[in-house]
């Protein structure tokens, strides 16, 4: 069965290592925080200006001056710090953030990503995504493998306006975990009960399948 959004987040959480500073995008990436092992030290950065972001506040304790990049009310953990947008993107461009997790509408086999615009239809803007993908050394994309019409979102070339070029390293979809190496998707893991053939069918871009592909366990 294909992974739920929570399971995608759960699988991505395994990529979060001790000592990492992590930036989580809106949507599925935000859920990753719930699944990070509690025996490792990790700090979450939100690009609107906080390091050491904590969970949502208890009811009645929300502070309008304390939100994350998704505009949600949050809390600050001990050791947290606040800073302005310039310093925040200095952290990001300067590669001080160890891992960036974000969503995508399309990813291409050379690592291009599109997630900010559908011409003539939806134009919300790139927010901090262009800075993040242009800078981060370690980017994981959380996304559905196909769109509502069943068309692949893992493409030879992106059809939508790009957010960044040759930047995505790893992708976790509802069907699989994939890596991008030398301009091709490489299948690493498959969702429980999903066959390699189903993944091949759902992937428009070149997909390399090497040896036995392990099934994720939850």
């Amino acid at each position: 069965m294909a992974l739920s959004k929570e399971q995608i987040a759960q699988r991505i959480a395994k990529e979060v290592k001790d000592g990492y500073y992590v930036n989580l995008g809106i949507g599925i990436p935000t859920l990753v925080a719930n699944f990070v092992r509690d025996d490792i030290s990790v700090e979450f950065q939100s690009e609107n200006g906080i390091l050491g972001m904590g969970p949502f506040p208890f009811e009645g304790e929300e502070d309008p001056d304390l939100i994350n990049a998704g505009k949600q009310t949050i809390t600050a953990l001990p050791g947290a710090s606040f800073f302005d947008s310039t310093m925040s993107f200095g952290m990001i461009r300067g590669q001080h953030v160890d891992l960036t997790i974000l969503g995508a509408m399309e990813v291409s086999q050379n690592g291009d990503i599109a997630n900010w615009k559908i011409p003539g239809k939806m134009v919300k803007g790139m927010g901090g995504a262009m800075d993040l993908v242009a800078s981060a050394e370690n980017i994981i994309v959380a996304m559905m493998h196909t769109n509502r019409d069943g068309e692949s979102k893992l493409l030879k070339e992106c059809s939508l306006p790009l957010t960044g070029v040759k930047c995505v390293k790893k992708i976790v979809t509802n069907l699989a975990v994939l890596e991008i190496i030398d301009g091709k998707f490489h299948l690493l893991e498959r969702a429980p009960g999903i066959s390699v053939e189903e993944i091949i069918k759902a992937t428009e871009g070149d997909l390399i399948v090497n040896g036995n592909i392990i099934e994720m366990k939850f």
Binding site: N48, P57, E62, I67, I74, V123, M130
Partner: protein
């Protein structure tokens, strides 16, 4: 000490005119200059260009100016959460320039700091870089971005003193510091205006030299855009 205090929001906004370019601090509805925005609406300034990370919501923040069609052009990084905005943009009633968020911040700070241009990797290979110079440094490609030019910077701080020194709170800081001193005239509204000497000089986020006018806002709604809470167990 050079005094920067003005009596109220009307005095603070003297000299604003149609066709001007404004910078406005805030991220979403967090840390926006609420009282100044109210005055811009009241004065019904027309055809302005706004440099602001977001565009408010339909009935708060810059959304109030949008509703009255006061904005000719928006320069922002993210304009979701605003149906009227999307309508005016897609219909072509309003011009919109979307740029990466870090670039937006740095172009403000560059304007403040006498740096006419700088290089950033953000947007390389995308439509954001179209028509801009690109260049390689150490094997990586970068885009040249230029300092903004604005007539007024409107910012909101938590505390300020009569010398114009500012302290921000939490994530309401966001774009406000970078905009201080980036426009020709910077107007700061604060929740609490304190006498000179009350702020620890070590803890001032923005020195008064960057601020031309400061006043205490009459009231602050500080609306929450996405209330998210945990239940107590």
């Amino acid at each position: 000490m050079i005094k920067k205090t003005v009596a109220n929001v009307r005095e603070a906004c003297e000299g604003i005119k149609d066709e001007m370019t404004f910078m406005l601090g805030g991220f979403g509805l967090c840390g926006i200059p609420e009282n100044i925005i109210g005055e811009l609406v009241r004065k019904n300034i027309q055809n302005v260009t706004c440099i602001s990370n977001n565009a408010g919501v339909d009935d708060f923040g810059l959304g109030l100016l949008l509703k009255k069609h006061q904005i000719k052009k928006m320069i922002s990084s993210y304009v979701g959460e605003n149906a009227e905005f999307e309508r005016q943009m897609l219909s072509g009633e309003m011009e919109v320039e979307l740029i990466p968020q870090g670039t937006l911040a740095q172009r403000c700070e560059a304007a403040r700091s006498g740096i006419p241009a700088f290089y950033t990797p953000a947007g390389y290979g995308t439509e954001v870089a179209e028509g801009k110079e690109t260049r390689e440094f150490h094997g990586k490609m970068y885009v040249m971005e230029k300092a903004f030019e604005a007539d007024f910077s409107f910012v909101k701080a938590w505390k300020g003193d009569e010398a114009g020194n500012l302290i921000f709170k939490g994530t309401a800081r966001n774009f406000n510091p970078a905009m201080c001193g980036a426009g020709k005239i910077t107007v700061a509204e604060v929740e609490e205006l304190v006498p000179v000497g009350e702020l620890d000089p070590n803890q001032i986020h923005i020195p008064g030299i960057f601020i031309q006018r400061i006043f205490q806002g009459e009231k602050y709604e500080k609306r929450i855009e996405q209330l998210t809470v945990r239940k107590r167990n």
